[in-house]
Symmetry: C2
Subunit: 207 residues, 2 copies
């Protein structure tokens, strides 16, 4: 069968716990690699180059674009964000499944370039829980809540483009479920083209 | 999320061990129900009505066809074989995943009627192993081997129509893997339409 890694895009509602989920997934299983994005925005206090992001200049970023060195990129409020191709390819070749935490626009770029990428969308277990998370602890201003709400509406539009949803109820169960979804998705005919073609060829030669 | 069962069609090369796999799957997990086909062929020694098959008359079978009481059916060498709809629907409503062991023609009928059905194709781990199984223990006549070979070639044509392949190497691992593939497939946007639409609707009402 196919021993090569697959690209796994993880998106989802803000506050659905993507960060914690992925941290846990990576610490629990050794077949994953987390892709680190490059960005032209300035590091925030506590952020480290090569950990949260690769912090690069605008020129460096545009050089990457020109060289087709990114699997996806976008420009948000004047800053570039993108996924360097080299790291992703290296890890896939090592048989790792490469996790990319990106939003819908990037996810769709990935799916177009890599039809075998797996797109996961993390959801809260219920509308009540989502609303609770959106409203926060009741200490947020109406403006903050409104901003979150607009964002969630936008994020929710793209769900149907994803291959699977991941429901983050209990963290422990959810990490296991996410792992199983990713591992199961290795077993599609498209992701095992070589194996299937070999079997078919050999069958046609037998007599 | 979606608590309703899904239809799981299992096909695969003869000798890939489908029977053993499914027996093990059903004994190990309690969320599955095995669909029993109806047939107009005569019971063979040791076969029991309602265990291997429901043995019915040609008239009874044609009545089922006329009433749209079958999820799929076919006619092989003068005998009807089909899957009664009533049992499948009852088990789905109880939240069971219903397993149907049928061949490609039936599988495609199912997929057309039930786009949310999951189609699994059981494969041996290697071409060597497949050939070994096709050739048997060296005691079979050339005719028997030739017959198996023709059948395997035919069976192999349809692989790409399936959602997932299941590689039967080690029985224990394979059963676990099959279970994970089936359970993971519950988490697609299409199989959670209601949950997703509720979330979207609620989001649009929040303000």
């Amino acid at each position: 069968m196919n021993n090569k890694g697959i690209i796994v895009v993880v998106s989802g509602f803000s506050g659905a716990g993507k960060g914690t989920l992925m941290k846990e997934l990576l610490s629990r299983y050794d077949n994953y690699a987390l892709s680190i994005s490059a960005t032209t925005r300035n590091p925030r206090p506590g952020e480290e180059n090569g950990r949260e992001y690769f912090f690069v200049t605008k020129d460096e970023f545009e050089k990457l674009i020109a060289e087709d060195g990114l699997v996806e990129y976008a420009n948000y409020v004047g800053n570039y964000y993108g996924t360097p191709k080299k790291f992703v390819q290296e890890k896939l070749d090592q048989g790792k499944d490469v996790i990319l935490e990106i939003e819908i626009q990037g996810a769709l770029q990935i799916k177009k370039k890599f039809p075998q990428a797996l797109l996961l969308f993390v959801m809260p277990p219920s509308v009540e829980e989502l609303e609770k998370r959106l409203r926060g602890r009741g200490t947020e201003t109406d403006e903050v809540i409104h901003g979150r709400l607009l964002r969630a509406k936008e994020e929710g539009q793209g769900i149907d483009e994803y291959d699977n949803i991941v429901i983050n109820d209990n963290l422990d169960d959810c990490v296991k479920e996410m792992h199983e979804i990713i591992q199961s998705s290795h077993y599609t005919p498209e992701r095992n083209r070589e194996f299937i073609d070999t079997i078919k060829k050999q069958l046609s030669e037998l007599n």
